[in-house]
Amino acid sequence: MNHEPLALGDISRRAFDAVATAQHASTLSELNGVIGNTFKTLGFDIYLGVNAVDATGRPNVELLFGQAPDDWYAHYRDHGYEKNDGIIREMLRSTDPLFWSDLAGRRTISDVELRVLNEAGEFGLKNGFMTPLHNLDGSISAVLLMGDSIDERDPDVRAAAHLLSLYYGSIGRRLMAASKGQRSRSRPLTPRQRECLLWVRMGKSSSDIGDLLGLSAETVNDHIAAACQRLGVRTRVQAVAEAAVHGFIEL
């Protein structure tokens, strides 16, 4: 029934095989092993799933899974580059993937944005490819690929990078949600933790919450920190969103 199929190039074949295997991955490390290796054969040593906007609509840049380039990431965070990253801006305003080098062709780049890109190059990350993922729950994630010498002009490289990123991003998010689900199913929030998060959601500060509940601000912070731990998140804003997703609090 298949006649005159287009000749499958080596890159296509590799990408399809990786995707087929990745769909059976049951852990993030398996996923990294399968798709990560294929990213490497395309020249991308670094591959990460990141979040840019959480399900409640709040900008919140964080690493979800993958191989973060530690030096660059530390430098990036120290300088607060997530606020000035032209690539993050593209994640929010577009659903199309792009090479960093495409950015100049899309719009004017600000000086700060240019500096971020150039400094990445100094850390050995000259090329990058970003695939946005606008999710059903309203959150915006992306898959970032980075490397030193990528054949950007080969349309199959772009297509394969995009295909693998789509699968890496969605399977990665699914595996993360599954493992988080397992954690918080067995460890629901205590009544105090839940109460504190409800007030956080109303915009109250720790000392406000302390006044409301008859506790010290430090105790409130402890409860919130413990809630973050249980939910597997880093900030109180994430804790509110995560608690809502699991039905521990209502938004």
């Binding site: 029934m1 298949n2 287009l6 769909q23 659903t95 199309d96 059903l136 297509a159 789509l166 699914r174």
Partner: protein, 258 residues
Amino acid sequence: MKVHVVTGANRSLYTKALERMHQIRYRVFVEDLGWSDLKSADGLETDDFDNDDAVYLLACEDGECFGSVRLLPTWRRSMLKEIWPEFVSSDERAAGPDIWEWTRWCPGHISKRHELVRARKALFLAALEFAGSRSIKTYITFCETRYFGQLEEIGWRPRPLGLPRPTEGGAMAMGVIWDVKPELLQGTRQLFKIDEPVLIEAPIPASSGAVIHPRMLERLYALSSADDVMAVEDVLGRMAPPPAHGRRLETAVIQGRA
């Protein structure tokens, strides 16, 4: 939100709803997404594949159509094969008696956001229920990659039919294929927290016997108690002369009129 199956055989029951469907398709594809090659003077988006073989799943609530998807039996015609063959490079069979194609996926317009969200869930479920009724084993679709994540997110495990490529409008798209297994319906029902069937297929209007209007059918399916059965008997009595031996509801069921 319920989903009505509209085929070449029962479409006379759905003239208004189908017109609404073409209007919503126009607003979404031509006006919002800018697919100008589908422009038309009457504000209705139709193409060559809107023929008698097409099956429409219409998501309706309170008599109004909010969203739709068009399913094509691939052994007759296929958009992927005819319009986008360069997007298919895989060895997988993408046409056959047990393969149908999703086209014109249009869960609704953003101006009715809540209905869109409900219609989207209902249409996903309806397509799986419809697969059960027609022995469909596989669905294929031409998918802009921006929507790809949704299929993966609901657990449908789509496979690529080719590498993604830019469409004329510039957006990346690719052919995808996925298997319909019985567990998929159960799993999707659990995910959406919808326990009951959403699909309604109105019987083909015959030259003899009463026509059961789709709205009536929705109400019939919503009934569940013994009192309701009396109510149904009453309704049927008003629509058609009673059969000679009584037991109107039972007869109507046997004759496929309920």
